[in-house]
Amino acid sequence: MASPVGQEEPRQLPVRWGLSAHARRLLTLALAGLVIAIVTRRPEFAGLAAPALLLLATWRADRPRQVAVRASMPSTVVVEGIQTSVRIEIHGLADFWASLVVEPAETVSAGAAVTLPSGKPDRAASLRLVPVRWGRRSLGLLMITFSDRYRISEGRVLVQLPSVNCRPRPAQLTGSVVLSRLPSRLGEHPARATGEGGEFAGVREFVPGDRQRRINWPATTRHGTLHLSTFAAERTQNLVVIADETADVGEPGSSSLDLVLRGAAGAVTRYLAARDRVGLIIHARSLSWIGPGQGQRHASRLLDLMMASPGGWDRSVSLTRLPRAALPPGALILVFSPLLDPLLIEALRDLRERGFSVIVVDVLNAEPQYGRSTLSKLTAQIWRLEQEAIRFSLTQIGVPVVRWDGISSLDEPLAPYTRRVVVARR
């Protein structure tokens, strides 16, 4: 199990003491009763103040000024929408009840408040938190309120909760697009070439040197000569995911950037789970990439790269300048983009001309706001036509464009390409 992250040692934090709301109400009752008793010369009002005054008399002046608090997490890497927990340890103030309430940061949802009874010098609690959007951020602040057993005095302590790296929740993708030509690396996709795989490819005549265990006895009996079964070679596939982070349009939480990151995370996770080699290119203010690789550590690097790239666009860079390592020959290129950046569209055309098999997942789910005037309507119409033209032009050069709404599984738009092998054309 991974060691907890966060503060290594408990931190001494100052406690701000004051009257509790309950004490203020009792004080009001006592003062009002005494004032009325004096003004009206009616002793029963003084008696009315007695219970409140007796409770207020338990006020303590010798309260500790500091308390040791430690906040830790199992891991600072979390996934959006997935619950995480922060462990809070309190050392000291054993005579006081402790109420833990989280003031969550933006886009973080907190669980219910936790109350720790008095009596133990070392107390601990786990607080439930759910980051609802990807990004690097603090989880928020924790307010610990200590109260004495008479509920008269209250001490407040503010604790900064750890910062987390919240990764986008991967889109669901169970199938995978497989190219007809795969590089000669051992993998799990049955290739057209015969080899040592497990998928049956056909039957052929036995030639000296063939393995006897592959003899197909039914075919041998039928033909009268030795025949053996052949199997498809199993190859790996190179996949390069291009995440277009130049635009972020639409409703927060389901914006084009949200969909780009969730889709890219889904594709990376799916293909790496299938033991393919996956690379990632982030198309943003500056280009950043990681060449294809395999394994859990590589997956972590790719997902971290998604979080690290700043948004926006710098016109001084172009996708075609990418080194060969980022775009290995014969790789399948899966692009998640709202197709709003002309430079990316040009780069996609260039990739196609260089012989790459490219599939674009269009995540545009918003339109510019237009007025009700005829001119505005006309402008909206022209914008839509332009968008359609962009997509049509890509389709015409052999770059399929599929729409994904971010709600359904990625399998739905990619179904035409996952059900059969995609023929790589040059």
Partner: protein
């Protein structure tokens, strides 16, 4: 789940459950206190109606304050203008000390009536009970947290009884009844001291 259907710019300050029983008890005690301090309405002097109005309004708002504070707080900029206004009103209700205002209004109502010591004693019990009910509903704590306060409350009730007795004594004719009351007052004072001293000495525990 993905944040679809949930505003990602929102922050949810804890999933709180509305403590209906606690709020209901506080509401009943508030209503009872106001009614008890105002009755009989015709017996009050000038300003009774104004005090009654203030007590009712502040009593209702103190209960609303409990309900608003208990509701899960969602903070977002994505609300409409009407919702933003409602939020501001809710903030106002949450900020002002309505329970304190109701306490003062109820005591004023009682003071506006002619002296009636035993009536005031019952009001003291009802008001203290209301303030404790508000505290329990506000913190969501169970009644068991008041166990430590019971000796002090009992002592306070004794002192209230003493004060009420003192207020009721002058009209009493001299005789065995008055003597008995004086003895009872001394006994109550001793018991109160016995209850308060251990609690006061042990407050640092």
């Amino acid at each position: 789940m993905s944040p679809r259907g949930q505003d990602p710019t929102a922050r949810n300050r804890g999933e709180k459950r509305l403590p209906f029983p606690g709020i209901a008890v506080a509401a009943v005690l508030a209503a009872g206190t106001i009614w008890w301090s105002a009755a009989p309405l015709a017996g009050g002097s000038a300003g009774t109606r104004l005090s009654l109005t203030v007590a009712i309004v502040s009593g209702v708002l103190s209960i609303a304050q409990l309900a608003i504070a208990a509701a899960a707080g969602r903070d977002t900029d994505a609300y409409s203008a009407t919702e933003q206004v409602a939020l501001r009103v809710a903030d106002l209700v949450r900020t002002l000390p309505w329970a304190e205002l109701m306490t003062v209004a109820a005591l004023t109502l009682e003071a506006l009536h002619a002296s009636r010591p035993w009536h005031t004693a019952l009001l003291a019990i009802a008001l203290t009970g209301y303030l404790f009910a508000v505290h329990l509903a506000e913190t969501g704590a169970g009644a068991s947290v008041l166990r430590a306060q019971l000796p002090l409350l009992a002592a306070g009730a004794g002192l209230t009884a003493l004060a009420v007795g003192a207020a009721a004594l002058p009209p009493l004719p001299s005789g065995p009844a008055a003597a008995l009351l004086r003895v009872a007052a001394i006994v109550i004072a001793v018991v109160v001291a016995g209850l308060v001293l251990p609690a006061w000495l042990g407050r640092s525990r």
